[in-house]
């Protein structure tokens, strides 16, 4: 009975907090990708220039992995497919608008972040060409936030927490924080280009980021859970592949 009471209180608090957020958030939040044409030419080129070296490096490590360990191809494709599914799911959030997870954490944790630069960019390319979601001119900027920063944050967080020996916690936190980091970077990219009239870049960043963070928190948690779910399946059925990956990571 005690736990049931606790659960109800928790649920009540969640609902209360959600209502509070709705009433006090004046501007609706929005999805992560920067729309086509919404970065000035110089900035669009700038983010492309920043992104391209990561893409080249990603292609190199992609071809190295598939050449040395062809049996990992299937797992690699699974990581890409995971991102493909999750970024298609627009999920309602506590701010009364929808956004979607990135699904980059799984691949970053399994194969390392450099590979995800390529896989994430492919997902973004698909969405910008076929769905008018994101854009070709803003692909550099969107790839930087989703396919580069997100996976790197996921990877570093995972590596830090795994030191404590709690593997699932490490995966959960890695995937969730990688997701959140993507949105923080997008806010930054937008804030630099569109500083607020009063307070400049910083004020604009806080405005963008506070909106993003609140919308994204439940989605980040969901992404963490789903990543752990797939990890559980892999641990049950693909233990050999996971062992191979561990060996790969220990190589210099």
């Amino acid at each position: 009975m005690n736990t049931r009471l606790k659960n109800r209180i928790c649920l009540g608090l969640m609902a209360g907090l959600s209502c509070f957020m709705i009433i006090f958030s004046p501007t609706p939040a929005y999805a992560m990708h920067i729309a086509e044409g919404f970065l000035p030419v110089t900035w669009a080129i700038f983010w492309w220039v920043v992104t391209i070296p990561f893409l080249i490096f990603g292609f190199k490590s992609l071809s190295r992995i598939t050449k040395d360990n062809p049996e990992l191809k299937l797992l690699l494709a699974l990581s890409g497919a995971f991102g493909f599914v999750l970024s298609a799911l627009k999920i309602p959030s506590v701010t009364g608008s929808c956004s979607h997870p990135t699904g980059m954490g799984l691949g970053a944790i399994l194969f390392g972040p450099s590979v995800m630069a390529v896989l994430g960019s492919l997902v973004l390319l698909f969405q910008s060409v076929l769905l008018a979601h994101g854009g070709l001119t803003t692909l550099g900027a969107n790839a930087f936030s989703m396919a580069i920063v997100g996976p790197w944050v996921a990877f570093v967080v995972y590596r830090l927490i795994i030191l404590s020996g709690k593997e699932k916690l490490a995966i959960f936190c890695g995937a969730s924080l990688g997701n959140l980091a993507t949105y923080v970077v997008t806010s930054m990219q937008l804030a630099i280009v569109f500083p607020a009239v009063e307070g400049g870049v910083m004020a604009s960043f806080i405005k963008f980021a506070s909106i993003f963070a609140i919308t994204q928190i439940p989605l980040a948690i969901s992404e963490g859970f789903l990543t752990v779910l797939v990890w559980n399946w892999l641990q049950s059925y693909a233990i050999n592949e996971l062992q191979t990956l561990k060996l790969l990571k220990n190589q210099p």
Partner: protein, 100 residues
Amino acid sequence: MANKEVITSQPKKKQGNWWLILSVILLTVLPLIFIKGDFQGADGEAKELITEIQPNYKPWFEPLFEPASGEIESLLFASQAALGAGFIGYVIGFYKGRNN
């Protein structure tokens, strides 16, 4: 008896997968129940906020192709999710079948 399991896979222990799935569903459904919002997809609103901060900004590039309607867009999104999920199912099923 336990030995055989150790060789092929991790010893069976509770992974709590159903709880993970349930949590994700709750996290998705609860906002819909408790929150009054229009649940707009967000990119249009992004453009609005940008034009609010900088009213003079003109996008300098248009998407090459836009889905003809909301229905076509959801068809494409559904196909994207279906392709990805189908492939994940295939891989996990393949791994599972290989173990048995």
